[in-house]
Amino acid sequence: MSNLDVRNVIAKRIAQELKDRQVVNLGIGIPTLVISYLEDKEVYLQSENGLLGMGPPPLEDEIDADLVSAGKEPITLKKGATLFDSANSFVMIRGGHIDVAVLGVLQVSIKGEIANWAIPNQPILGVGGAMDLIAGAKKVICAGTLFTKNGEAKLVKELQYPISGLRQIDLFITEYAVFAFENGEVIIKEIIGDLTFEQLKERLNIPLRQEITNIYMN
């Protein structure tokens, strides 16, 4: 698969996790691609720069530079959308009112801790709303390829990258499998790609259990 395909496979699988009426915040990168796979699901997208009810990108002649996503891309308003200031946006995020945050990730530990904001030994100059979403969202789904460009697994025994918060995420969705984190265990809920459970276990070299359930049905 090309890199583009891989990202879309992950995004599509994440879309299946989202349910009607959920309020969802999509991070930058793969999470943004999820929009394309929502089909007619009635999901309400929150954007931390002050919007609930983000609609699809505008037509060229309808672009408004003052209607943008947190990724600073032009967007539209869906019916029933609301606008608010940054303080109130984070009341919504940190206060536990977002049903699902979908976040890009650099590393995930076997305890479900994540690193998604900083790279060791490099200047740490950006965090945005990532830590607020991790602290506040009811459910956190992380999106990412399972391996780095150098072939290193992103699912690791201990984070080498700076941690993003104490919170254990719910799911790590990759192009190979859906990983859940429950009671200190990593559980493969679904195999997506062409590696078997045994192959994944060998490549990742972490304790792993398989428990295939159709978790995304409402």
């Binding site: 954007s47 002050g50 003052d66 943008v68 606008l83 303080a87 740490i124 950006g126 506040g136 918060g165």
Partner: protein
């Protein structure tokens, strides 16, 4: 009635001084007071401390002010995309204080609200919590954050009435309403200025008590960009 409308900050030159802390609204360029920033660039002041989510876009807004050398420190949540800021930080010519976006927003709101500080769950256990007091409240871990106030706030709104009541446009609202409450002097840049009574009282976001000066913007939106007219 004293008129809050001014042509340029030159009319209130005396409120600007070296070493001031300036709160600047905007998320990227949306909701950024571009005209006021242009006018600040004309002033002979230095060592400004900026509080802003990020530093504009390359060549626009606060980024220009920073590359001009007027900025000593920035307090905000996202500077990674700004190569020159990263470089200046590496070289030690720019001090950066990184704060999660929600903590930044809450700290500014508290600054305007007579609240000295607060406990947030955001960033607990991370590098951004190092050196910060931690406290358990009802079984959950929180860190202490101090309120943020500024000497001057420069903000962007859609419409001002002559009293200084403000409405905003779409996601250009962002940090502007809270920054309006948290500085000694508040200067707002707007698309239009209307008579008192033209704005519906239910829809005014920033009451006039927070606004000291009003400036008509010199920028218009063209597609995704803001163009000086």
């Amino acid at each position: 009635m004293k008129n809050k409308v001014i042509e340029s900050i030159n009319e209130i030159r005396e409120v600007f001084r070296d070493n001031q802390k300036i709160l600047a609204g905007g998320f990227g360029l949306s909701g950024s007071p571009l005209t006021i920033i242009d006018q600040i660039m004309e002033l002979d002041i230095k060592n400004l401390h900026l509080v802003s989510n990020n530093l504009g876009d390359d060549g626009f807004g606060l980024h220009k002010l920073f590359t001009q050398g007027k900025v000593q420190k920035v307090i905000g949540s996202y500077f990674t995309m700004n190569n020159e800021a990263v470089m200046a930080w590496s070289e030690g010519t720019l001090d950066i204080e990184l704060i999660p976006q929600g903590t930044l927003a809450e700290a500014i709101r508290c600054g305007g609200a007579g609240i000295g500080g607060f406990y947030t769950k955001t960033a607990v256990g991370t590098e951004l919590a190092i050196g910060k007091e931690e406290r358990e409240i009802d079984g959950e871990r929180y860190i202490f954050e101090k309120a943020i106030k500024g000497d001057i706030a420069i903000i962007r709104a859609k419409t001002a009435d002559l009293l200084g009541n403000l409405t905003y446009h779409r996601t250009a609202r962002n940090f502007n309403p809270i920054m309006a409450t948290a500085a000694d002097i508040v200067i707002v840049e707007v698309d239009e200025i209307v008579e008192i009574g033209e704005l519906d009282p239910e829809t005014i976001i920033t009451p006039h008590v927070y606004v000291d000066y009003i400036i008509q913007t010199k920028y218009t939106k063209v597609g995704e960009s803001y163009v000086k007219s």
